[in-house]
Symmetry: D2
Subunit: 176 residues, 4 copies
């Protein structure tokens, strides 16, 4: 029996020490916040923990997060979930020199939240294969009630694989 699409022998890690280091859950959140990209920055998402085993983030709801009814837009929840899942998957794929790209995002909305709310979220892996990964993430309000939850399936791209016509320059990779 084997994980779907992952039955070939695992790639030799670049460095067993690096692999072990990453698995020891070093927290790359500071580096991730520097590299987070325009969308997470525009959304005010702060990564508060970033390891290959667990990723956490938070944001305070402002006008830029709202839909016309005055509650947080569903795209913000989907995107926060996508952000945390991608950071975790990228950190797990890093020792192999792989980058990751999202394939599918499925998000359930549970609770409407308004401006001023402080949201925090956590993402953990369901499966971390050589070909694909699945991470789930859940967003909570200040009272730790679930606001939204979702899963992201990501494809792992081997080194040198072009993404959208250019080589991936891997800015998300903290060590390179």
């Amino acid at each position: 029996m084997g994980r779907i699409g992952d039955e070939d022998p695992p790639a030799a890690p670049r460095s067993a020490a690096l692999l072990r280091f990453l698995e020891m859950s070093e927290d790359f959140s500071e580096r991730m916040n520097e590299l987070r990209g325009g969308w997470p920055e525009t959304m005010g998402i702060t990564i508060t923990r970033a390891t290959a085993d667990e990723v956490k983030g938070e944001l305070t709801v402002g006008p830029q997060h709202l839909q016309p009814y005055g509650v947080v837009h569903g795209g913000v929840h989907c995107g926060l979930i996508e952000t945390l899942a991608s950071v975790g998957a990228a950190l797990f794929a890093l020792p192999r020199g792989q980058s990751v790209v999202g394939l599918e995002n499925s998000t359930s909305f549970v609770r409407a939240v308004r401006a001023g709310a402080k949201l925090h979220a956590i993402s953990t892996p369901i499966t971390r294969g050589r070909t694909t990964q699945v991470w789930e993430a859940t967003i909570f309000d200040e009272e730790d009630r679930i606001v939204a939850t979702g899963r992201v399936r990501l494809l792992c791209l081997d080194p040198g694989r072009p993404l959208a016509g250019e080589q991936v320059r891997a800015p998300q990779h903290p060590g390179t």
Copy 2:
């Protein structure tokens, strides 16, 4: 046989004339752009067509849409799909005095796009019931290649139903 959760007799529309008017596909895109809310505005989403049968929108990719690899963040695609589906569902629900709220968003990412790309998207209904609606939406690049596609399930809320602790003030409703 009946639509799931929708088997009770349809509510009398507020006005048969209004209902017919809306079904005639009047385009509310101008009004929708005024009311679109902070997230769609921050994302630069322009609604180019808004009827109860079809909604279209577009955006030009800028720095605020990108993730760390320099391609559009998945949350932008999920959110554009959510925006168009919500506008269509809201317009359909309007003659009953209902508002709508997203329950589920499931999006597939197909093609990575970079800054400068002009995206356009279209959303059409799968089912429009009295209790829930399902709309699908697809995003295309300038060459009409699919960039992402998704479905949104929405709950229809009867008039006066509070959303997140306050009465819905229905800014998305063009006629009020």
Copy 3:
């Protein structure tokens, strides 16, 4: 702030004692197996725990579960997840006299399994509202490795609400 679509005051339970009784996690699995319906029976699904807080089930993979490559068909995983989620949601909705119907099923496949494998699964609630519920469920193999995981969104139907043209006769309700 409130749960989506659930902001009106909760319905008075038929009986506070019954409600409390159910919340005390009485196990209805035996009754559920009698009532499980043709599909779960054809699939050999046995419910091993059925409460409003947690549902468990199992099956042994046979020829009737396979797709052409000789591994379990994705529909079996989706359906096992749907079964457990529906049982839990129905038990939670029961004290209000409500029945439930699935709206959305989103399932990730993680590990291919072959004939002879014994699968077990558990489902727990994400949100249990008066209008909708979300349950997640995960399927494991004998070594407790994840085989598949998914979420189901269900609509709660008030008493007397017809489903598919007939009154719901509520065979899934253990007490009626």
Copy 4:
């Protein structure tokens, strides 16, 4: 710009003639029904068209499809959608010697149907890459009303890639 995960040069097809042949939409439905596997057979699914561009199937609802309320179980809809999508993706992947395996299934339920109903379904591709494919499928009743709709994401496995611990023996491949 490129399709996600598919930017490397396409594999040389085994035979340009074979590829063209398949793209000409030869109908493999008869062969597919012989090879359909235990689950589709137990569910009484008949493939009525099977090409790399479009797949159709049908079933008549019987006791083996029902959940306790007497309507078709959600797992049947998910599984019918999975079946059609997988047949199409497998036929598309065949000229490369690839097999396919489902990664994600997201299905929306629209209309409850009872025993005796005749359902028909159609699946078409959203994207057909070298690494992954996405197919959507919709199920209709006799009056061509939508009963359910969904999308399936599939991973393409290169020749010789083991699936669940054994070599894929490719029974779904019509030409081998």
